[in-house]
Amino acid sequence: MIRHLLSAGDLSLEDATLVLDTADEMARLTEGRAVKKLPTLRGRTVVNLFFEDSTRTRTSFELAAKRLSADVVNFSAKGSSLSKGESLKDTALTLEAMGADGVVVRHSASGAPYRLATSGWINACVVNAGDGTHEHPTQALLDAFTMRRHLGELAGRRIVIVGDVLHSRVARSNVLLLATLGAKVTLVAPPTLLPNGIEHWPCDTSLHLDDALGGADAVMMLRVQSERMNDAFFPSAREYSRRYGLDSRRQALMPPDALVLHPGPMNRGMEITAEVADSARSVIVEQVTNGVYVRMAVLYLMLAGTNPNTEEAA
């Protein structure tokens, strides 16, 4: 298993399968049990370092760490030294001095987790919980886990990812992980919301949603990230939702048992209509539950064993 989880692309097929299988066991161990807590990470400290607001990801990581009996410390940008202009390095040195074993980091700058993991400031394992428009590997893992629970093995499955690919770390991580798992991914987006260099990604692209839905095993809708949009990427919200939104008419074009996913938070009425989001084929709420299992698996695999860094230091 790798030491830091920075990119979904760092996971080999073997590693990815190990995480998903471990998550399966985590689900079986906590569902319907008297004591939903495992003693495995007792005495380990996990720091949630969130430079960017996030309720669901931070809560999910916090719950996962607590279910494994780790001590959890939350640093969020608001109301801490981070908002007083402390540098990433000084924050890292502070965490190291406090004896953090694992650091879960979200940052608005792409590459911040990589910097934290490779600069030698800390010995802790680093988990990327979303960096800028780069990656969000645990989201990709939980999406794959959710799809695998419904579809079985993902090799050869056809997954359609729709929407704001340009600003989406979820899309990039999903494309990399799904390619490793052998699934066929098609990205559908207006040309203005496809990043440069998309032709080098291990996936197909399309501009027409209706054409892509026919053979899909799962359709993942991305949130339109208005807060990152400094330009006009499409003429109007109404036009975007007409051309790239998932509504009941489009859902009828999908095979009857195809899944609908969304990483949340949803803009209902924009990229997805309320009827589709609440339909029987929507697994959006389940994705949240599964997020905890997948993050438990990641924290277990990264923190439960020996820490090679600490040993080198010793």
């Binding site: 298993m1 299988d21 066991e25 161990l29 495995t40 923190l303 439960a304 064993g305 020996t306």
Partner: protein
Amino acid sequence: MSRDLSGAREVLDGDDVARALTRIAHEVVERNKGAADLVLLGIPKRGVPLAYRLADRISAVEGTEVPVGALDVTMYRDDLRLRPARALERTDIPPGGVDDRIVVLVDDVLFSGRTIRAALTALEDIGRPRAVRLVVLVDRGHRQLPIRADHVGKNIPTSLAESVKVRLTETDGHDDVVLGRSADEQAATEQAGAEPAGTAQGEVQR
């Protein structure tokens, strides 16, 4: 006694394993005065097929189905930090749970007792059995904790330099129990390089 090139010695063959399990099944039923409230939990990997075989034998004797499942103890081990993180095995608790039942833990080899200690802690998080009993196919001694088995297939006195390997049809293609040198010893010998196979075998025999 058959032996292979690595100097391993077979101490139980397939028939011995089958006879030991049949005897243990009868002992469990005798001690429990029937199969009522029994739940068999195998400890992965090889405790699980053993638990299923015992359940079949008990059902055949008593004419009732015995709930059987698996209890993985990886997350409860006390040596987690000494090695890289391990993959988890399947935990599978029968639908009736373990509350107020007689839980029979089943494992292949009883050695330090630490696996069973972990299993007892794991059970605590699942429920509160009326009693917990322990069945092992082989007890090789060298306990590090105050734990003993209620039913033992065979006591095999060993030295710490030896390894005991239980092989089962479900996991390894055939049933037997083999006594050999431990992996560490074998690696050390191979590194030293000089020791011919004959000498090594002689040592194990002694």
